[in-house]
């Protein structure tokens, strides 16, 4: 059983959800699996109460649902699921991200869409301003499917939000989701004849976006075609990939306290989605992307051909910040010193699809 004050790491895997917990972030205990045999693209600890676990298991047979538990996985709520209206011709096949937004809960789904719940996940309604956008019939999926995977509320401004879908782009709303604009300006696009995406046009492939922890007006993005930064008011993204071993990767995490500090895990290339040279490393910038530092102490440097997916890295929000990275080979790595050194929580889990962390209250 998880105790108050413990650090909690929640891993969604191809075969259920696992919960690691620790008093000192050195010795870990593991709970689970929950939803045995069922893939779970996202699972998390609700930061609002430090007690509710959220999970989005997607049964191959019975489809995707959202579940929650307030007793560390002993009992889970009855399944509920976002559902497209029949006349849309769409059907939710996976839930990629569940995000607490104020008193509400939002979900990003495949095919790309947004849903919100005002009753703690018991029922869901579509964000029609997003889901019924003109032009969505021309949206094309990335390798993971036409998935909406990023939901970023704006601290202190409840009507402002960023959402991102692959391979469509980055969307912003200033009116609580009634209308959205595409924010794809200036992003490399090797899959398009023009080679770069335009503001307002679809076709970019964001993999993960985070906000700067000190200045929420600044966004950082790991895109299919590079790492980027953008400030509120800009009409294009700024490339900050220089200094990284590769432009390709999936996850991105902002340091919970230090502005300008974000982490990513570059992979060799989109044609070879493994850690470069079989050496596992997390990369960090502390100056908004001007320079990057390789962090690999304690991580395997030979034969580690890891793939880390877009939800595969998280911070626990503590000071010093803990960082956690999960791989599709079932390795779950932890750092209790902001990435300076690493150790293993687990090495034989099922393929890890998501990692989230927090503190139990």
């Amino acid at each position: 059983m998880v105790a108050k004050g413990e650090t909690v790491v929640v891993a969604g895997t191809r075969k259920g959800v696992f919960v690691a917990h620790s008093r000192d972030r050195r010795r870990w205990k593991m709970e689970g699996p929950f939803f045995e045999g069922v893939e779970c693209y996202h699972a998390s600890l609700d930061p609002r109460d430090g007690r509710t676990l959220w999970a989005a298991p997607a049964s191959m047979h019975w489809g995707p649902t959202v579940r929650s538990s307030r007793d560390w996985g002993k009992r889970w709520t009855k399944p509920a699921a976002p559902k497209y209206p029949k006349e849309s011709g769409l059907s939710v096949s996976r839930i990629w991200h569940v995000e607490p937004v104020g008193d509400e809960l939002w979900a990003g789904v495949e095919p790309a869409g947004l849903f919100r719940s005002v009753d703690g996940g018991k029922s869901w309604e579509g964000v029609e301003g997003f889901n019924a956008q003109p032009g969505r019939d021309k949206w094309t999926p990335g390798g993971g499917g036409l998935c909406l995977h990023t939901i970023l509320p704006y601290p202190g401004e409840p009507k402002r939000m960023i959402a991102a879908a692959s391979a469509v782009g980055i969307f912003g709303t200033n009116d609580g989701g009634a209308s959205w604009r595409l924010m794809n300006g200036g992003i490399q696009a090797g899959h398009l004849p023009e080679g770069v995406t335009k503001e307002g046009a679809a076709g970019s492939c964001p993999h993960k976006i985070v906000r700067d922890s000190r200045d929420p007006a600044v966004l950082y993005m790991q895109n299919h075609f590079g790492v980027y930064r953008r400030r509120r008011g800009d009409d294009a993204w700024t490339d900050i990939s220089k200094g990284l071993p590769s432009r390709f990767g999936f996850p991105m995490v902002a340091h919970p306290h230090d502005g300008g500090t974000v982490y990513t895990v570059p992979l060799e290339a989109d044609a070879n989605r493994v850690t470069p040279g079989g050496a596992m490393a997390v990369w960090r910038t502390k100056n908004g992307g001007k320079t990057w530092q390789r962090l690999a102490k304690g991580l395997p440097q030979k034969g580690a051909f890891h793939t880390i997916l877009r939800e595969g890295m998280a911070t626990d929000g503590k000071d010093p910040a803990g960082l956690y990275v999960g791989t599709t080979t079932g390795h779950l790595y932890a750092s209790r010193d902001e990435g300076g050194s690493w150790s293993e929580i687990a090495t034989t889990l099922p393929p890890i699809l998501s990692v989230e962390a927090g503190v139990a209250r």
């Binding site: 191809r14 893939e39 693209y41 049964s59 191959m60 047979h61 019975w62 489809g63 889970w76 009855k78 399944p79 509920a80 699921a81 559902k83 497209y84 209206p85 029949k86 849309s88 011709g89 769409l90 059907s91 939710v92 990335g142 390798g143 993971g144 499917g145 999936f250 989605r273 793939t307 997916l309 877009r310 939800e311 595969g312 699809l353 998501s354």
Partner: protein, 99 residues
Amino acid sequence: MAGVTLTLPRSLRDYWAGEPQVRLDAATLADALSEVGRRWPGLAERILDDRGRVRPHIGLFVNALPVMHQDPREVRLADGDVVRVLPAVSGGSGNGRQG
């Protein structure tokens, strides 16, 4: 209306905690699934997708006849029919999709 028996698999216990067989009155398969949804909210959506189509990895049988590829509204039921909902044989691909 016909009196039919519906059998559900154990893997749907999260929705339905009753006997493995339930008695329903229904003229069509769509009626039967609608009654399932009325009695156990959320259960019908596990069998049908958002468009009202049978989910791809489910077997639906009336007696021994597979009906999962038919429109549920057009599957007529008769007194004594047994409707079976079964998880299909699926998987094995490893699902190499990138997350």
